[in-house]
Amino acid sequence: MLTDVYNPLKGEMFQVMDKTGKIVNKKYMPAIPDEMLIKMYRTMLLSRIQDEKSLKYQRQGRMLTFAPSLGQEGVQVATVAATEKRDWVSSAFRENATWLWMGQPMENIFLYWCGNEEGSRIPEGVNLLPVAVPIGTQFNHAVGVGMSLQYKDEDSVVLAYIGDGGTSEGEFYEGINYAGAFNTPNIFIIQNNQFAISTSRTFQTKAATLAQKGIAAGIPCIQVDGNDIFATYAATKEAVERARKGEGPTLIEAVTYRIGPHTTADDPTIYRDAAYHEEMLTTDPIIRTKAYLIEKGIWDEKKEEEARKEFDTIVEETFKKVENVGQMPLEEIFKYTYEELTPQLREQYEDYKRYMKGGNE
């Protein structure tokens, strides 16, 4: 097992492909068909372009605050790519590429960041939970879904994502511990992008790695190079298999880098050294993956240019469509509080409707 070979307590990080795109660990190179590789890359690229353009839209005042996944597309795609359609994902809030891979329409993602709950009406057949803003709480939900799968005797698994900052929250630990206690089919993924807003990873904990926190919960854990899609995929696949066989949960720390700000309301230049940032940019998963694909002969600059153009248009059109969605009708803000309106809600809704009809603004 990879988790036996790579001991986080010994500081051993699992890597297959280095930042130039070269395979340095052939033994553990996963077998991914070319078609899937292309799909993975294209999803990363689409997510990247969506985020880059979204930043512009936001600065143009056309979009509200959002959390870009710039730099983390590798982790996000490589982990979810190791699962099947029937598997579940319990999100934090920075998993754009994961959502795209799963089939959450970009339109929904834009609706959500534009302040419309319709964006969280995730399509039928997509087992993705909505964004969980209170950090760490999504881990316990994931465990609950895992327990329901055990109960129903289904062999689906549940991924859950969290950031390096999130590992300091009580529910992070409660979640992995609970999962261990019940041996649930969960895979917990820490997207260690080095920063919790302005707080660097080293301030979060005295532990040398985040992966080793799994040891306290008694579950297998591993630290991987998150920008290396092969290592990430391999580690996740092993964890998924383990979970499907009923052998319980795994904790994976994926080391990556948050190229952009925490959210658009954040200015990283305040707390990040320029030289450090430049250095970290070279670890970009898109750079190395592209290099690998070109080297393998299944991608080229022309395909790159075409893809970029195609994605640019998709993003542009999708965003414009969302922009033209009007205000939310009054009924919608009441309708989903309970299955049926309580007498109080009905009265409040009717009264306000009447008041508005009377020409009041």
């Binding site: 709950e117 969980a132 709480t137 939900h141 609950g144 529910e171 109080q344």
Partner: protein, 325 residues
């Protein structure tokens, strides 16, 4: 028909519900093997197995958070919080997720979960074992909050809560868990959520109470008869959503209103009821709508708790005051 106390009635309700629907799971700290510290879930693990009734690690957030996950994927979790005083680590999951998941996902993901816990004081316990925070919970949109006062309602309301498509907080007045018994039907039945019950009819004043104060209020009503006053006592049963109709119909008849609750006075459930009475029955009032409540303090430990407890005499005296207004 069986003569059962509140705990036994609750247990019977859980058992009968679980017999009919195998998506119902019951769990909490010490709820499985031992059947809960008050034995509310006694025998369930024996009968239905560890998969359906089990103990959990000591984490309220974990219990409730995982319950939410289960409910999202089609199960009906009945989660126990050992004492209402320990609900606070789980309040985040309750407020922000259980109550909001339907709204957030526009109805795709819902949380038909029951969260049950012993609540209220009067048992001379350690700190954190005597809370009455129904107002805090009732203030959260998306939640329902029920408080049964007698074995019939305990059974009927737990069944209704389990069948409710929304998250229901089920508060059990621990003071009266075993304080009396009642003859209740053997078969399974539901008591509707959102419906109060008129305990005694009267035309002089409407008195609303719930939980452990119902037996006290009943004593007060008897005492008031000897003072020539006929009080209409209403057991609210559901704190949220309130059965406004029953209350207002009563106040229009009597013209006077008193709400009695153990919970802290300021910003308490009484304030909500009085507001409703003012909004809908202002012109019918012959005396100011009033609340008789606990103090704005932490429930005292055993030595001071008797000050905090509301007695039948306090209730009758207050009623008399209002009738003479």
């Amino acid at each position: 028909m069986a003569i059962l106390n509140n705990i036994e009635a609750l247990n019977q309700g859980l058992t009968q519900a679980m017999e009919r629907d195998d998506t119902i799971l019951v769990f909490g700290e010490d709820s499985g093997f031992e059947g809960g510290v008050f034995r509310a879930t006694k025998g369930l693990q024996e009968k239905f197995g560890k998969k359906r009734c089990f103990d959990t690690p000591l984490t309220e957030a974990g219990i409730i958070g995982s319950g939410i996950g289960m409910a999202i994927n089609g199960l009906k979790p009945v989660a126990e919080i050992q004492f209402q005083g320990f609900i606070f680590p789980a309040l985040n999951q309750i407020m922000v997720h259980a109550a909001r998941m339907r709204n957030r996902s526009r109805g795709k993901y819902t949380v038909p979960m029951v969260i049950r816990m012993p609540y209220g004081g009067g048992i001379r316990a350690l700190e954190h074992h005597s809370e009455s925070i129904e107002a805090i919970l009732a203030h959260i949109p998306g939640l329902k909050v029920v408080i049964p006062s007698n074995p019939y309602d305990m059974k009927g309301l737990i069944v209704a809560a389990i069948n409710d498509p929304d998250p229901v907080i089920f508060l059990e007045p621990k003071r009266t868990y075993r304080a009396f018994k009642q003859d209740i039907p053997d078969e399974i039945y539901e008591v509707p959520i959102g419906k109060a019950r008129v305990v005694t009819e009267g035309e002089d004043i409407t008195v609303v109470a719930w939980g452990a104060l119902i037996p006290e209020a009943i004593k007060a009503v008897e005492d008031l008869k000897t003072r020539g006053i006929n009080a209409e006592l209403i057991d609210l049963r559901t704190i949220s959503p309130i059965d406004t109709e029953t209350i207002i119909e009563s106040v229009k008849k009597t013209g006077r209103f008193l709400v009695v609750h153990e919970a802290v006075k300021s910003f308490g459930p009484g304030a909500e009821l009085i507001s409703i009475v003012n909004e809908k029955a202002f012109l019918n009032l012959e005396a100011p709508p009033t609340r008789l409540t606990g103090f704005d303090i932490t429930v005292p430990l055993a030595k001071g708790e008797h000050h905090f407890i509301i007695t039948p005499k306090q209730i009758s005296d207050k009623v008399e005051e209002l009738v003479k207004f």
